[in-house]
Symmetry: C2
Subunit: 287 residues, 2 copies
């Protein structure tokens, strides 16, 4: 097991918000992740549900834990919440810091195949294999391995949906705030997929929630999608939730789309509805 | 009236988190402040209570509005919340950026008399006169001028206590997170008071909550003080709440000191208890 180093620990809503760093073999660099242990985790005699939260473009592990206010609801529900970083860090691939929507802090939670990205940009395997196993091992005294969910925002909403759809059974619940629902069909996604995956569109379909839903044939999973109606990126058609909903309807995958009047793409919006999302996960994971 | 320019506006918990800038005559520079208008302010046909929140060292108007999660409680209680900046900005007094605890973002909510600070560093008059009047005028359709409270954190807790004690009746309720309670007797305060006020200790006493309490003789006011027991700055005796409590007891000023086991000086701590504080203000302001 990788060695964990404690970076910070702060008491909040009766639990502990921790940040750890560890050496990732998938990404070949040192990575931070956050973990919130609610008050119910103290003592370690009860196994609790756990929800992953994947952040969006430009974020690291800090944005969510300082801005969303999720800890109040995680403490109320007795849910552990883990927040990974959004890309490899410090690996210095040429060109990795030239764009805010590609490279550093824009890993798109996929496994790159195109050079020079294929060596380090393996956020898909990092998240769904390496970190997933690491958390189960390092926190085996408090995490129930049968009750794990995933959520995310924007690029991280894409990551949450794709992770759940590609790995049936790994995540029992999934939700997303303003997710990039159909990356093959929006500017952010086309740029990222071209850069990380190349020109082969059949490979793109393996990392696109709307395409994955069309062939989903696994344990029933309800997708909860949340979208601010005044979100600039929604209006500019970077997010395309309607494409995902249409694909779900055609293939019989249950989906809920909550359109929120007047809300934008920010953490102000997320903070308003994060409690609803954690309650959604909690209800499924405790059923 | 000064002209207000809207810097940002985000919907959160059904209300609007706005930031404005304006030209300050007291500080002779452009200043930002935040204002949260809860859902109850929409339409403008009800006058609501208002609470000021003063931030601590190193902060500007952003920290509180992005990290504390107060909007949920302000929306529940129907309270407007205003957050000023912590010092003049962009005035370039020689040496103003050499320390994190003096000069820029460290105005201590007082009126400096020593050169070169006396010209711009007039946060006391800015807050309690200029901004106070500006808010009443610019938001007269939603603010009840008879129901105004004040709170703050660390240096801002000092600012809240001093503002309430120096200006009887201006603020009907007051509370503070980890306030600098006795600046004349702690390193932060001695540095700031020496720099802004000079060597005359009788002048220091006019901006020191513990000293002001000793001679407070005005409308009854209960001081609510909150303090994390694991707060590094509390342990290092920068905050000294016990001095304030002793002064209150000797002079008959009601005080509540809540010591919070395991909590530190951060916004994680504030986010945990900001709801209790807004409920405290709301109860007094709606009585």
């Amino acid at each position: 097991m990788d060695k964990l180093e404690l970076v910070s620990c702060n008491k909040v809503f009766g639990g502990l918000q921790k940040v750890y760093s560890h050496s990732s073999s998938e990404l070949k660099c040192k990575m931070n992740f956050s973990i919130y242990l609610p008050p119910q985790a103290e003592g370690g005699d009860v196994k609790l549900p756990l929800v992953y939260y994947l952040s969006g473009l430009t974020c690291n592990e800090q944005n969510f834990i300082t801005k969303s206010g999720f800890q109040r609801y995680a403490a109320e529900q007795g849910v552990i919440v883990v927040g990974p970083d959004t890309s490899p860090r410090g690996v210095k691939v040429p060109g990795d810091d030239e764009s805010w929507d590609f490279g550093v802090s824009a890993g798109f939670y996929l496994d790159a195949v195109k050079e020079p990205w294929a060596e380090n940009y393996r956020m898909g395997s990092y998240l769904n294999k390496e970190l997933y196993e690491l958390i189960l091992q390092a926190f085996s005294n408090v995490v129930d391995p049968e009750r794990i969910g995933i959520m995310g925002h924007s690029m991280g909403g894409h990551g949450a949906l794709v992770s759940a759809l590609r790995n049936p059974g790994l995540y029992k619940s999934v939700s997303a705030f303003a997710p990039i629902c159909n990356p093959s069909a929006c500017p952010w996604g086309v740029k990222a997929f071209t850069g990380y995956l190349g020109e082969d569109k059949s490979l793109w379909a393996e990392w696109d929630a709307t395409e994955l839903v069309k062939k989903y044939d696994a344990p029933p999973l309800t997708l909860l999608i949340d979208q601010g109606a005044s979100d600039k990126f929604y209006i500019e058609k970077q997010l395309l939730p309607e494409n995902l909903v249409e694909a779900c309807r055609s293939s019989g995958v249950p989906v809920i789309l909550n359109l929120r009047d007047g809300y934008d793409h920010s953490y102000y919006y997320i903070s308003t509805y994060i409690g609803e999302h954690l309650a959604f996960h909690s209800k499924i994971l405790k059923a």
